[in-house]
């Protein structure tokens, strides 16, 4: 050990006089792959200085005591701090006093147990290096022979080889059994059929404002505004509300008719009011980050951008096709109404999608 390093931290007389060198050969220039063995064991200051060991013991005991106190603090704050009390703590702001107290005390209690255990293990528990040889993976020759023998005997006694009828029917039974599980998969739900292709919108359905639940009139919608609409008859407490609004959600904006570049969009609009599906054609997020000066609509999930003044075509991002437009007009009472359902399925593409 005297070859490596100097005794900087501990005076010589405190070190045990006879330290055993590690066993095993030392790598030499002739054989660079020889097992270098373990380096010589080095003592810790706690091993040689009883005072230091006492100090470590006190530190560990103090950490455990702090943990106990923190746990008592946890119980005390649970009992005493009212749940609706708020305190201002920099830099967090106004936070719930109870949650803060519970979190802090529990955190301190857990941390001190961990820190105490680590300090204990590092300074006081035995730190002698131990060598544990690896065992071969294969079992002993004798054991393997015994297993084979048992197997042969079992096969002979069961007469599986001698009675093929039993053997074949058993294999048949075992092979058929998993089918019952496969059949149950059918109960995962009714097939979607053509539900993905249709929404609640139909000819003559009024466009109802999602905020006021009143039918919309064209004069309610001004240039530069953004309005969300749902089909007449759909109520928020309907059992199927989420399912239906997920397909039927509609956004309405008004453009100056001369700003509309797409001929079909203009034909399907009413006095510049255009109605588009709010469901992104990429993976179905609600697109409605509408920039009223550029007429671009942005999807918050993957930044697909659609140009509402040009048939909602995709101008950026991963979406595969334009947002479906709903053909609208005004009925005799002056309310906006749909002229039918969307002509193509709303939302993302899927295998059987025709359009």
């Amino acid at each position: 050990m005297s070859e490596t390093g100097s005794h900087e931290n501990v005076s010589d007389e405190k070190l045990p006089s006879a330290q055993e060198n590690g066993h095993g050969a030392v790598a030499t220039a002739n054989d660079p792959f020889a097992d270098p063995g373990l380096p010589p064991h080095e003592p810790r200051i706690q091993d040689i200085d009883e005072q230091a060991a006492k100090r470590s013991e006190r530190v560990v005991a103090m950490l455990f005591t702090v943990s106990m106190l923190a746990t008592l603090g946890f119980i005390a704050s649970f009992v005493t701090v009212p749940v609706d009390k708020y305190v201002h703590i920099w830099p967090i702001g106004n936070i719930g006093a109870l949650n803060f107290a519970l979190g802090m005390t529990l955190g301190v209690a857990l941390f001190c147990i961990g820190a105490g255990a680590v300090h204990w293990a590092r300074t006081l528990m035995s730190d002698h290096e131990m060598v544990d040889e690896r065992h071969p993976v294969a079992a002993e020759q004798e054991t393997r022979a015994k297993v084979m023998e048992d197997f042969q005997e079992g096969a002979k006694e069961s007469a599986l080889g001698r009675r093929p009828l039993i053997r074949k029917t058993m294999f048949g039974a075992l092979a058929l059994l998993p089918l019952s599980g496969v059949v149950l998969l059918r109960d995962l739900g009714p097939l979607p059929e053509d539900k993905l292709e249709h929404t609640l919108w139909a000819k003559g359905k009024l466009l109802v404002n999602e905020n006021t639940h009143e039918p919309l009139r064209p004069e309610d919608i001004s240039v530069g505004s953004l309005t969300f609409a749902m089909p007449e008859g759909l109520e928020e407490d309907d059992e199927e509300f989420q399912k239906e609004i997920a397909k039927a959600a509609l956004m309405l904006v008004r453009l100056e008719p001369e700003d509309i570049k797409d001929k079909r969009e203009l034909d399907w609009s009413h006095e510049g009011i255009v109605a588009y599906s709010k469901i992104c054609t990429h993976v179905g997020c609600p697109v409605s980050l509408y920039e009223q000066q550029t007429h671009h609509v942005l999807c918050p999930c993957h930044q697909s951008t659609f140009d509402l003044s040009d048939g909602a075509r995709v101008i950026f991002g991963p979406a595969g096709h334009a947002l479906p437009q709903l053909k609208i007009s005004v009925n005799n009472d002056g309310f906006l109404e749909a002229q039918g359902d969307f002509e193509e399925p709303v939302g993302p593409a899927y295998w059987e999608r025709r359009a």
Binding site: N9, V10, E42, G96, N211, S222, G224, S288, E291, Q292
Partner: protein
Amino acid sequence: MKKLSARRRHPLAALVVLLFALAATGGLYAAFAPAGEAKADQASSQSLAIEEGKRLYATGCSSCHGTGGQGSSDGPSLVGVGSAAVDFQVGTGRMPAQQPGAQVPKKKKIYSQDEINQLSAYVASLGSGPVTPSKSQYDPSGADVANGGQLFRTNCAQCHNFTGEGGALTHGKYAPGLTDVDPKHVYEAMQTGPQNMPSFPDKVLPEQDKRDIAAYLKTVNSSDTEKPGGYKLGGLGPVIEGLFAWIFGLGALIVVAIWVAARTAKAKKS
């Protein structure tokens, strides 16, 4: 009475009646004149405000918005934007703009509220538009916070995030964070649709709904918001919070583990 009636054909009767009529007219005039005078006063103070606003406009705004608010290549027309738009843009310091760019940012306002009122009066005189709301219209106290939250999530959250922390748009544009924004400015922004924000007119989002939204923002996103859960990590949503926990939380644990193992406890350091 009989005496009076007997003298009704007296030659001076017409004169007496005339005197009575004059007295009545004078008295009535005296009774009503002050009201008329006050009205005239108010009208003239309004036109004074417009005059004063026109002067402020000519020095501060006309270089971009044109001498008569007709707009130019550097700024949009202000005809018909209404006093609410001026109160919002100048009141939040966005106008006058410092430099052209994707979006004009909020900054320290440079006009006093009186000057802003004068500018608003002038711009409102160019063409009718949304009017600056009164306190009773936007005051969030007593409004329905839960309803405001629902309306916010339907109409506003797509850009401004669920609790109004703001978010990015295209080409350098962004939806600003709404922490501590004056409820009046929240109201005016919904009414007028500043810059690329769409407007939400009263027909689409009634006055009471706007108050509810202002109340929701005040409850969830202001400097005295009560946060039961403690530090909200910017309130940017579960993805950010998860990333923070994985990178910084787990990272800190790994660093501590390495530190515990790397620091030797041996007496002799090597």
